[in-house]
Structures are given as structure tokens and as C-alpha cells.
Symmetry: C2
Subunit: 415 residues, 2 copies
């Protein structure tokens, strides 16, 4: 039997137990896990050292090394995160709607776990704990497949999780990790329909694309964000400036950062010099169309490629548009349906933008950076869905659930 | 440009228009379409005659011919169905939940169309109108790909739909049909990620399996139902008999019909002779385990294959089980997570069954045959989902929608 078939079977058995677990018992197990993580800091850091050494040998760049690195402080943060998940309300069992049908059956729609969730991810070992804990809280078993560069760290973390869950009376197989990090096994995981109910990729656009192409298991697509801020002719200059600087420069590497600024031609001359100056003060490189280049000096001319690109870096494309319709058309053409913002004082313009822009989150007079499970108040986030099925936008605990209909009858048969 | 690329682009353009259409205008267009269908009866029946002639030449069996056949009465039924969809509430635009987050942003979760929906289906031409109309009502553009055996019928129906929608001021490309019915084009459709937001297969288990394996577009799996009725030791004999006879024999070809009866050993001797007699009076063939064969004569011995099979026919497998736990274990092993029923007077047994059986619809003291969008009161049905993502169980209009977050700010930026 292959590693995945065995792990699939074990996960399915564990999922059945988890689906029936009481919220209180799950939360106590999470609290205990939080303590365990701290208690095992030395072991975890030793494992992480191995990964860091290998990465350094392989000449991995510093930013990547930093994503890979665990420290006592980071382990405290991770443990703190586990505790917080324990305090969230358990969505499982909630009957969101209950009614009588014509046959006098009482039909309830109840939240249940999805079952077995596969997570394919890269580099950051904190995802290991994060994903496992959110799936556990929602009664799902997890099969993790992390990147080979974090192999020892992930293994150590999963050992702590499994031991701790077992001590709390849960099946250790509630959380498993694929130990064979070959590409072949990853592709097997993508086709493990007999055991997986859903597969969530977290990582680079390339990883997500591969999963979308190869997987036969239902996938939730997460992550890529080519987000825009549109400054309307009726925008306040100070608000517009604050929003685009925040959306671009507060954390350019994340998916909810802005990549292109669209600005109404009526205010381009007035606003752009100061906006660009403030962006440059934050080390943002400007790539603009010809009009932008005619207004401000030292602007690199943008090409078609710039409108399509998620830089995830200190680079911003700027385009002058003739109005809201042109801005919406540009966004619906080049955007990745993630987060889009308009800055305007005009009521009808704001409504048009909200209605016509096709994206997971559409903002009026706020930064795109708010698209996040914690900022939205979900208390957790397993990723940001950019597809339209099942979940769209930040995914919290509810998005890790399915439903079933429970039906109370008195002997009814269908005529 | 291939047929599908062109149709994909046209569908996307139409979807943008549809997403902004007012409920009243959409409903008027549906009422007009209902009239058009009747007015075009002769043309539609002529096209249907061609398909029937080809099918007869190819020696298609009568049941299939009947599924393919249109009559004036059936067209009236189809037109009536369109009218009914017009009277349903439009889910688009509904804000299901709205709240303030810590940053004082007002965040609303709003129902929006999915976008472009692909439907792959077989034989029955009424699916053409049904699917197109439900997608239109929910603001989605549709690309239909029917079976080659219904080619002329589907083409005629789509012509009526497109002409009628165009007369009502909508883009005709709101509804398109793939005219190249080759397998290659079907497989292209399954990978048309650039234009399709979701693909729904409707038809045989084989069709659905192919779509699941080949598609890179998100799929909603529908249909297969290996459903069970479990008669507990504390069941009333008359109620149990009525329910299993209805679940099996009222319409064996549909997915919510029962395929296996599980019966508690404590009542097997008492109940089975009469239950089996009544099933046989309905022409149901019985395949039982050894215990069943020892109680009733002329029982064909069931094999492992019988527990796995969706007969979709006048055949029922019967197994005697030691109790509720064994029944639940059997169902969770062999069931297709569609519809499952228990007959019992015992409160705790009923609760256990509801909680532990993993299926889209779990019934206490009612027939599995109620799993249906109309019976559930949704007023429509695009199919019955047997997957856990996005939608589970009967899918009505709500299940043809996605959501977006609309966020009202006052200049907020993320700290």
C-alpha cells in the first residue's frame, strides 16, 4: 500500500471520530497543544536548524530563509494562535435554517465538517500548525504536504501535534504529513479522490496553477491578487493618497496589496505629483502610461505586461483613465478578482463600482489591505479564495465546513 | 479561434450584462420565453423528429427513445416550468449578512452570479431549457453541451431561447450551445478555465466520472445515489413497509430511490416476509444475504457487488444487521452520501443516525424519495450535489450563486 493510500484510510477513520467530537473537548485539546508547542521549543528549533543549514548550503536567498526560520518568539506566536482558535465558536452542528415543506417534513440545514482536507504548501512552517489547527477545530482530518525545504521543521511540528492530540484522547491521525516530498507523491495527493474531500494549495502562483491543472480532488484556489485602487474625479486628495500608499507600501509581498493605481484624468495632473512623491518616499518604483510620464519625471513606461502583473514588490503601475466605466473595464479585464477599491465622494459612482466590479472584496474609500480573515473579524484564516465556488474571499472556520440536511418525518412517503 | 474560445468570450461578455440585470426585467424575459416555446412547438417537434429517426435507426432502446421524445404536452410542461421560474424570488443582490469590523468598516456579504456556467448532459432535451432558464434567472451565462443524440432538438430549443432573450433586450449569448458534439470538444470545455466559472455534469455515472477526471474547471458533482433505508428494532412495521416500498418502487430510475434495505436482526423474521411480498407485488427483485434467504424463499444471494451498486431498477438488496451501529457503518462504507433513512420510534437511535450518517440528506421516518429541489421547497432544481464543496444535496437558485464582500469605508487604512 502506498504512503498516501494508508494515510488516506487513516485520515478517513480519524475524520469520523472528529466529526462527532464535542466542541469543549476539541477546545481543551487545542489548549493542551498550545502548551505542548512551547514545551517542545528546543526539539522544534533543532529540526528547524537542519532545514536552515540545508537552505543556506543551497544558497537560498535571505527573504526565503527568513520565512523558513523559527525562533522561540515565533513558536510563542504560533502557540498563541492555537489558543485563540480554541476560544472561537465552533461552527459544527449549527442548523443555519430549518423549515417545514409541503409534506410536513421538518428540514434543517446543518453545518458538518468537510471530512478530510489536503493542504499543499511551501516554505513557512507556521502554516503546518495553522492549517492543522483550523481543520481540527472544524472536525476535519488533515493531510499536510509541505515543501521539502521545511521538511524537518514540519515533521517536528506534526510530531508535537499528533502526540498532543493523542494525549487528549483524539486519534493521532487527525493530522498527518506526507513524508515523501517527491513531485510524484504530490501529484498522487492531487488525485486522492477516494480519501480527500478538498485540497487547498497555499503558496506561489506556480504551485496553485499546478494544483489547479493536475488535481481531480475539488480544489479551493487561493491567493493571487492583482489588486487595483481607482481614484475617481470626486475623490479627496488626502484620503486617496493615504489609501494608495497603504494599499501599495504597507506590505507589498501580500496578495491584498495594490499593484495598479487607476486615476481619473480630471484629477491626474493635480494629484499625481504628490501621490508619486509619497510613494517614492516609501521606495516604490513607478511604471506609468504616457500621460503619467508626461506629468511626473523618471516614470518607467508601463507595458501590457505591467497591467497583468502581481509584482508583490515595491513597484506600482499607474494608468490614467477617462472615468469610472474605463476603470471598471480595466479591473474586470486585468484583475484576479481579489480586492478592488474606489476612492470617491460620489454616491452613485460608489454604487456602480460596488455592483460592477467582479471581485471577492470591493471597497469604497478603504485600503485593499483589509481583505483578511482576522481583519474581517472571522478570528482565523485558512487562505483567501479567488474562485467563486464554495467560498470567496477570506476563509475562516465556516468555510471549512459543508452542510447536510437533517429531516424529521412522521412516516411520510412521496406521492 | 476555436468554437469554444469564441463562445467563452461571448459568454463572458453576456455574463457581465446579466449580472447587472434587474429581477423584474429577467422575469419578463422568462415569461416571454414561455410563450415563445409554445409558439415554436411545430419547429421544435420537427427537429425532435430528426433525432428520434436517427435514434431509431441506431436501434436505441425504448426507454431512451422516451427520454428523447418531445410532444406538444411536454413542450407545454417545459413552458410551464419556465413560467414558474419567473415567479421565484431572485437571490441576486441579497446581502445575507452585514457587520462592522474593528476598523469600523461596514462589510456585507452579497449574493452575486457565478458568471459562466457550463452544463454537460445527455439525452433529455428538457434539460436544455431547464438549465438555461435557472442560470439566466440567477444572472449567469450558460454554455450547454448536450448529447449528440438530442442534437437537433437542443439546437432548436436554444434557437428559441436565444431569439426570445434577444427580443427581450438581452444578449443572445446569454445561452449558447456547443455545436461540435465531438468528444474532443467536450474535453476542451472541461478545461475552459479562462471562461467557465463552474461545470455541472448531468447524466450517467460514467459521464460524471469522466468530467471529474478530466475537468480543470471547478465541477459540481451530481447524481449518483446508492441510498439505504434502515429499519430499526423499534420501527413500526406498517410505517417501515410503506417507506421502503415507496423508496424503492415509486420510481426506481431516479437517484433518490433506495438500493439497499438494512434491517435489524430483532425484527427481520417478523417484518421481512410481508415487506418482501409487498415489494414483489411491485415487481421488485430481491437480493439478500444468507439470513434473508433463510427467512424468505426465492431470494437471490447478494454479493459484495450488490452492496455497491446503484441498480436504478426494480431490484433491492437486503441485509440483516446487528443494530444501528452496524447499519451506520454499512452506509458510511457503501453509500454515495446521497440520501439515507432510518425508521425508528427511538429518540436516541434517531439522533445517532442523523449525526453519524455522512450523507447530503438524512431522514428519520420518511422516504429517501423526498431529496429533490421541488420537494424541499426551493421551487427549482439544477441537480443534486453529492460533493461537499459549495453545495450539498438538492441545488436550487441559491446554489447557482457566489458571493462578494462589499465594503463601505470612510478612508480607513490598515495599520
Amino acid at each position: 500500500m502506498s504512503e498516501l493510500t494508508l494515510k488516506g484510510q487513516q485520515a478517513k477513520a480519524a475524520a469520523l471520530v472528529l466529526s462527532q467530537a464535542k466542541a469543549k473537548v476539541k477546545n481543551e485539546a487545542l489548549q493542551a497543544l498550545s502548551v505542548s508547542l512551547i514545551a517542545n521549543t528546543t526539539m522544534i528549533l533543532e529540526a528547524n536548524e537542519k532545514d536552515l543549514a540545508t537552505a543556506a548550503e543551497n544558497g537560498i536567498r535571505d527573504a526565503m530563509l527568513d520565512r523558513l526560520r523559527l525562533t522561540p518568539e515565533r513558536i510563542v506566536d504560533i502557540a498563541e494562535g492555537v489558543k485563540q482558535v480554541a476560544t472561537l465558536a465552533d461552527p459544527i452542528g449549527e442548523v443555519t435554517h430549518m423549515w417545514k415543506n409541503e409534506a410536513e417534513l421538518t428540514i434543517g440545514k446543518q453545518r458538518v465538517p468537510l471530512g478530510v482536507i489536503g493542504i499543499i504548501y511551501e516554505s513557512r512552517p507556521n502554516v503546518t500548525v495553522d492549517a492543522a489547527v483550523l481543520c481540527f477545530k472544524t472536525g476535519n482530518a488533515t493531510i499536510l504536504r509541505g515543501g521539502s525545504e521545511a521538511f524537518h521543521s514540519n515533521l517536528a511540528l506534526v510530531r508535537v501535534i499528533r502526540d498532543s492530540l493523542a494525549s487528549s484522547g483524539f486519534p493521532a491521525d487527525a493530522v498527518q504529513i506526507v513524508e515523501d516530498t517527491s513531485r510524484e507523491t504530490a501529484q498522487q495527493l492531487m488525485k486522492l479522490n477516494a480519501y480527500l474531500d478538498v485540497l487547498i494549495p497555499r503558496g506561489s502562483a506556480r504551485l496553485i496553477q499546478t494544483v489547479l491543472e493536475k488535481a481531480t480532488v475539488p480544489v479551493i484556489e487561493t491567493g493571487t491578487g492583482n489588486c487595483h485602487v481607482y481614484i475617481d474625479s470626486e475623490a479627496r486628495q488626502d484620503m486617496a493618497t493615504k489609501i494608495i500608499v497603504n494599499a501599495k507600501a504597507s506590505r507589498p509581498s501580500v496578495c491584498n496589496a495594490a499593484e495598479t493605481l487607476l486615476i481619473h484624468e480630471a484629477v491626474a495632473h493635480e494629484f499625481l505629483p504628490s501621490i508619486i512623491a509619497q510613494l517614492r518616499a516609501e521606495n516604490v518604483e513607478i511604471r506609468g502610461d504616457e500621460l503619467v510620464a508626461s506629468i511626473v519625471s523618471d516614470v518607467i513606461l508601463a507595458t501590457e505586461l505591467d497591467w497583468e502583473t502581481e509584482y508583490a514588490d515595491y513597484i506600482l503601475a499607474i494608468k490614467v483613465v477617462s472615468g469610472t466605466d474605463a476603470a471598471i473595464a480595466h479591473i474586470n479585464k486585468y484583475g484576479t478578482k481579489h480586492s478592488e477599491a474606489i476612492v470617491t465622494d460620489n454616491y452613485f459612482t460608489s454604487q456602480k463600482f460596488l455592483q460592477q466590479v467582479d471581485a471577492a472584496a470591493v471597497y469604497v474609500n478603504a485600503s485593499t489591505r483589509f481583505t483578511d480573515g482576522f481583519e474581517f473579524g472571522f478570528g482565523a484564516e485558512i487562505g483567501i479564495s479567488t474562485q467563486k465556488l464554495h467560498a470567496r474571499g477570506p476563509m475562516g472556520l465556516n468555510e471549512l465546513t459543508s452542510t447536510k440536511y437533517i429531516i424529521y418525518g412522521e412516516g411520510q412517503i412521496r406521492e
